[in-house]
Amino acid sequence: MSLFRDDGIVLRTQKLGEADRIITLLTRRHGRVRAVARGVRRTKSKFGARLEPFSHVDVQFFVRGGELVGRGLPLCTQSETIAPYGGAIVADYECYTAGTAMLETAERFTDHEGEPAVQQYLLLVGALRTLAAGDHDPRLVLDAFLLRSLAVNGYAPSFDDCAKCGMTGPNRFFSVGAGGVVCGECRVPGSVVPSREALELLGALLGGDWETADACEPRHCREGSGLVAAYLQWHLERGLRSLRFVEK
């Protein structure tokens, strides 16, 4: 029997039996972890409320063996709220759909339970904080998160220099398979030619230049979102379920 303590973001909850839930968290030190929270659907304590999606919580786990992730699901025995992002996010439907796509993305990029994914974790915490603060268009916050998630998982797209030969940008052609923009020499069949503004926007989102991103016109934002979605789908085996519900 061992106790583990970690902090994490609740990604998903599933009903289990009469009144329990399985909680999926992305934790700081143990990566993605699934745990059972008993009685949370009928309790009057605040335990259940703390373990809702988007919550940043400090959790204590109880396991039979010596490893947090191994045989059988750990029990979630205590939790303290660090930041309840859900309240602000769920009050705005656009925020909610964008936020849900972030949670699913974080889950998909942390395939192996128990394997630390600290960069992905930090990205998610930062993105949820930004989303809940409401300072930027939710769709932009989502696209920035998707691009940076791709980057920390080894799929950094290029929006300036040629992704194949490195020729200094700007380059006009874009191919998801090639890894971003490519020059005229390296262009592959099926490449598209996005607007200069859309490519600038994506570069700004990847680099954290919010001033440029916030000033972008809606049609270029939509174009950029389309490119991000295509790039993401290329690198994930299955499509994201929640992406089609994100409001444009």
């Binding site: 039996g17 659907r41 809702e52 999606p53 759909t97």
Partner: protein
């Protein structure tokens, strides 16, 4: 693994919500040892319920006829509709005796991560009910958890142009919980103290 029909029974039971493989096995062996008359009665109600019970064509609640008991009752106030996720929530609210209006059962809550969006719920049917102007208040009684809140947010935004009074059950309900587990007193109080939603 068990032989043929026993395993089939365990498999079927295991597909029920909240029944894991161990429980399925336990129920299966309970049935095997039960009195044949008891088992025949169980099999009979299972067939009956599928043959006789349908969903109310107005509100989506369970019904024995085209309309459910609430929709048929002329004493119920047609100006107020209480929106819930499941038929079992109607039962929970009816127990409080606090509500005299009608219901609308959505058939779930919006949960994009599970692939459930607004079009998968009975929202278009609700909007059709609101179209003729009879309804003046919409009470959003979706579960007090994240998906329930998101569904309430979506509905409040969608009906906003119609100029209805849109309210949400007061806090005090167990947050993160299921509506059906709220006791009558708490649920009744939540009804009385419902708050106006402004999105």
């Amino acid at each position: 693994m068990y032989e043929g029909v026993v395993q089939d029974l365990i498999d079927e039971l295991g597909r029920l919500p909240g029944v894991g493989p161990k429980s399925a096995q336990r129920i299966a062996f309970h049935i095997l040892q039960a009195d044949p008359a008891d088992v025949r009665r169980l099999a009979h109600v299972l067939t009956e319920v599928k043959a006789k019970v349908r969903f109310c064509k107005v509100c989506g609640n369970v019904a024995q006829d085209e309309l459910c008991r609430v929709c048929r009752d002329p004493r119920r106030d047609p100006a107020v509709i209480c929106v819930v996720e499941e038929p079992k929530d109607v039962v929970a609210i009816e127990r409080t005796r606090e509500f005299r209006g009608k219901y609308h059962v959505l058939g779930g809550a919006i949960s994009p991560i599970d692939g459930v969006g607004p079009d998968d719920l009975r929202i278009a049917e609700l909007l059709r009910r609101l179209a003729d102007g009879t309804v003046t208040e919409l009470i959003l009684a979706t579960d007090p958890n994240l998906e329930g809140e998101a569904t309430a947010t979506y509905l409040a935004r969608t009906v906003k142009p119609m100029g209805l009074r849109v309210t949400r059950l007061a806090s005090g309900l167990p947050v993160g919980g299921d509506l059906e587990y709220a006791d009558e007193v708490t649920l009744g109080r939540a009804f009385e103290g419902r708050r106006l939603l402004d999105v």
